[in-house]
């Protein structure tokens, strides 16, 4: 059964369509990589699914429920979706532990001891147990992004949205974040990731969607979309990626 189903999504900014009748279906436990040039609508798609941006048309269903209905409480929807941002967006005034336990305690009403125990366990699992009491500005970019992923996981989300989570990282720090996403896939987490890491998309994704001008131009298994693309726009995009040495 489809966990997420987007139909005919349209989003305009100043008369310019950023999403243009976009369709996307994500099955449970599936990993979908959304690729495309900057400005092709990848981030906007993820923000719309998380109801951070309002749609101009189309519907989004999560677990069969129409979450694009304006009568739906967006806070309730977002509890089921975890989102990780390109710039980490950790809260600088809170320690790593408080960053992670904020939502479990305030949104899900867990006790401090229970929430902290869960947070420490998650941190230990990704090798950041020693950083629990540190503040974000004392962490490397890779560590911050892993904390941001843990923060999203602490809500036990049904779906994870990862918005170019390695784009702001130094090259030698990308690996530790990708390893964490690999583990998430192994745990069966459903994920939509907007990414420029074509090699990683090929390895981890069950489905690759190439976005251009707010539309899904080509979609399918990674071997097909990245190896034998049928659309001229996809081929052109991949050629430029190869020229840049990123594939």
């Amino acid at each position: 059964m489809a966990l997420l189903r987007c139909r005919g999504l349209r989003k305009e900014f100043g008369g310019h369509a950023v999403l243009d009748h976009l369709d996307l279906t994500v099955a449970e436990h599936q990993v979908v990589a959304v690729i495309g040039a900057s400005g092709s609508g990848k981030s906007t798609l993820l923000r719309c699914v998380n109801l951070l941006d309002d749609l101009d048309d189309g519907t989004i269903e999560l677990d069969g429920e129409d979450i694009s209905d304006p009568r739906v409480d967006p806070d309730r929807v977002r509890r089921r979706i975890g989102m990780v941002f390109q710039a980490y967006n950790l809260f600088p005034h809170l320690s790593v532990l408080d960053n992670i336990t904020l939502a479990p305690r305030r949104v899900h009403g867990r006790g401090r001891a229970e929430a902290e125990a869960q947070a420490r366990e998650l941190l230990d699992r990704v090798g950041l147990g020693a950083k629990a009491d540190a503040y974000p500005d004392r962490l490397s970019g890779g560590q911050q992004q892993r904390v941001a992923i843990v923060r999203a996981l602490a809500n036990s989300p049904r779906l994870m949205l990862l918005d170019e989570v390695t784009s702001a990282l130094d090259p030698e720090l990308v690996g530790e974040v990708l390893a964490m996403i690999r583990d998430l896939k192994a745990d069966g987490m459903t994920m939509v990731l907007a990414t420029h890491e074509m090699g990683f998309a090929r390895e981890v994704a069950d489905q690759v969607c190439f976005l251009d001008a707010g539309r899904v131009v080509e979609s399918g298994p990674p071997g097909q979309v990245l190896g034998e693309p049928t659309q001229p726009r996809t081929r052109q995009f991949l050629r430029r990626i190869i020229e840049a040495g990123r594939l």
């Binding site: 809260f91 904020l102 305030r106």
Partner: protein
Amino acid sequence: MTLLDQVPSEAQLRRSAYRRRQTVYSVLVAASSTAALGTLLVIAVTGAPGWNRVRRSFLDPEIARDALPTVLSGLWLNVRLLACCAVGALLLGLVIAVLRTLRGPVFFPVRALAAGYTYTFRGLPLIIVLYLLTLGVPGLRLQGMPPVLVLGGIALVLTYGGYLAEVFRAGIESVHSSQLAAARSLGLTYRQTMRHVVLPQAVRRVAPPLLNDVVALQKDVGLVSLAGPIDAVRAAQIATAQTFNYTPYVVAGVLFVLLAIPLIAVTDWVTLRAARRQSGG
């Protein structure tokens, strides 16, 4: 920084010696220029034709000693009033700033009232607010009217609350929208986002200008004496009227500066700490 067991090179030794010489030279220059300017000022003031008369009527040590107890007890009123008004104005400013950020049509009247308040009380001179509250309001002859001192305090809180609200609002707006997106994506409501994510960052960022306004309030607290209560300025005025000598005012002025020093030192310390936190990444 060189490690302890590391022997500096010939070039580094020459550089260190040169820097030491430069430091000694700078200290000597600063000391002599300060001494020169000080001497010039003393000569200019004490050499003025009316210096002896001014010294008698403004700097009489005997009158200063006599006036000190009453001025000091007046200052105690200033201190208590400052403490209450600072807390009141900070709370009012914070509430008004948060009200101005509320979205949605339901809150339109609240937003409009809060905006109208900051426009009115930032424009209205404090003296007029004081007179309206301490002379006008008692004229209504309502039951349970608070004493003039409380009314004067309310005037101060209303005026300073307007300024502090704008400082808080600037702090709230300086928190980047990505922080709101992160908080909302975790399922936090707007209110929880404000309470746990936006306000803590905003208040930290604007702490230096907030404290600066409290220092300004410290001086304006003396204006309640216009309505009758005997604070330090009023006590000095009474003493002056008795002796026909202005020394009590100078006493009050010195006490006000002494009172401000710790507050200003705290402000500087908070500002420095904020600047360090910004630069230390």
